[in-house]
C-alpha cells in the first residue's frame, strides 16, 4: 500500500461521487468532474509503474474531451 495508491483510491471515490451527482447539473460541470476519477486512475497506475498505459490514457483523454465537447457544443446550440 503505497501513498500513491491510497491517494488514488480516495480521489477515485470523490471523483465518482462528483461525476455521478454534479451540482449544478449541467453537461459542462459533469464533463469537468469526469477529470477527477481520471486523476485517481492515473495515481493508481503510477503506484503500479504502468507507464505506457498512463501515457496512452493521457493522450486518449485529450481526444475524448474533444469529442464530448463537440457533442455538448451542438446540443447547447440547438437548445
Amino acid at each position: 500500500m503505497t501513498p500513491e495508491f491510497i491517494l488514488g483510491c480516495i480521489i477515485l471515490i470523490i471523483g465518482v461521487i462528483a461525476a455521478a451527482f454534479p451540482r449544478p447539473k449541467t453537461y459542462l460541470s459533469r464533463l469537468i468532474s469526469l477529470e477527477i476519477p481520471g486523476l485517481g486512475l492515473l495515481l493508481i497506475m503510477i503506484a503500479y509503474d504502468e507507464m505506457l498505459a498512463l501515457l496512452t490514457f493521457v493522450a486518449v483523454t485529450a481526444i475524448s474531451t474533444f469529442v464530448l465537447v463537440r457533442v455538448i457544443e451542438r446540443k447547447e446550440a440547438a437548445q
Partner: protein, 200 residues
C-alpha cells in the same frame, strides 16, 4: 499478506455502485454518454489493479476501443437528434494557418517515421491532424482506410515471423513498427476532420 488488491477491489466496487446508480437514475441521453465515460474509467481501474505487464497489455486496447466507441456513440447521438453544426466561421484563423501547415506537417510526419512504432504514429498523426484542421480536407477516406487495413495485415504478419522464424526478429520488429505507425496515423488523422466537411 498484501491487502492492496482486496482494498482496491472494494474501492472499485463502491465506485461502480455509485456510478451505475447514476446511470440508472439519469434520463437525459447526453448525460448518459458522459456517464459511460465514467464507467470506462472504472473498468480501467479494475484492470490496472492486476498490476503486471498483462494489465498494460489489456489497458491499451481498452483505451483504443473506448475512444472509438465514444466517437461512434456521439456521432449516432448527433444524427438522431438532428443536431447541426452552428453556422459560424472557424473559431480562429490566423496567417500562420495558411503558410505553415505544409512544412510543419512534413516535419512532424518525417520525425514520426524516424521514431516509428506507436509513438511515431502519434507524432505523425499530430502532423496530419494539424494539416487537415488548417487546410480542410477533400481526401478520399477509402484510401486511408485501405492503407490502414494493409498495415494491420503487415502487423499480424510480423507476429507470425516472431513465432515461426524467430531468427529474423529484427525484420519483424521493423515490419511491426512501420505497420503500427501507419495504423495509428490513419486512425488519428480522422480526428482532424471532425469539423465536418464533404466525404466524411
Amino acid at each position: 499478506m498484501d491487502i492492496t488488491y482486496p482494498v482496491g477491489l472494494l474501492v472499485v466496487a463502491i465506485a461502480l455502485i455509485i456510478g451505475f446508480t447514476a446511470i440508472v437514475l439519469e434520463r437525459d441521453d447526453l448525460h448518459r454518454i458522459l456517464l459511460t465515460d465514467l464507467a470506462e474509467i472504472l473498468a480501467l481501474v479494475l484492470i490496472a489493479l492486476v498490476a503486471t505487464d498483462l494489465a498494460e497489455a489489456l489497458i491499451l486496447p481498452g483505451l483504443v476501443v473506448g475512444i472509438s466507441e465514444l466517437m461512434a456513440v456521439s456521432e449516432v447521438y448527433i444524427t438522431r437528434e438532428g443536431l447541426r453544426a452552428p453556422p459560424a466561421e472557424p473559431a480562429f484563423h490566423i496567417e500562420v494557418m495558411d503558410s505553415a501547415p505544409g512544412i510543419l506537417a512534413l516535419i512532424l510526419v518525417g520525425y514520426g517515421i524516424i521514431l516509428s512504432g506507436f509513438t511515431g504514429g502519434v507524432v505523425a498523426a499530430v502532423g496530419t491532424v494539424f494539416y487537415f484542421m488548417c487546410r480542410g480536407h477533400d481526401e478520399r477516406f477509402e484510401l486511408i482506410e485501405t492503407v490502414s487495413g494493409y498495415a494491420w495485415a503487415i502487423w499480424i504478419g510480423a507476429f507470425f515471423i516472431f513465432m515461426f522464424l524467430p531468427q529474423y526478429w529484427f525484420f519483424a520488429v521493423m515490419m511491426a513498427g512501420g505497420a503500427i505507425l501507419l495504423k495509428v496515423m490513419a486512425k488519428m488523422s480522422l480526428v482532424g476532420t471532425m469539423r465536418g466537411g464533404p466525404d466524411v
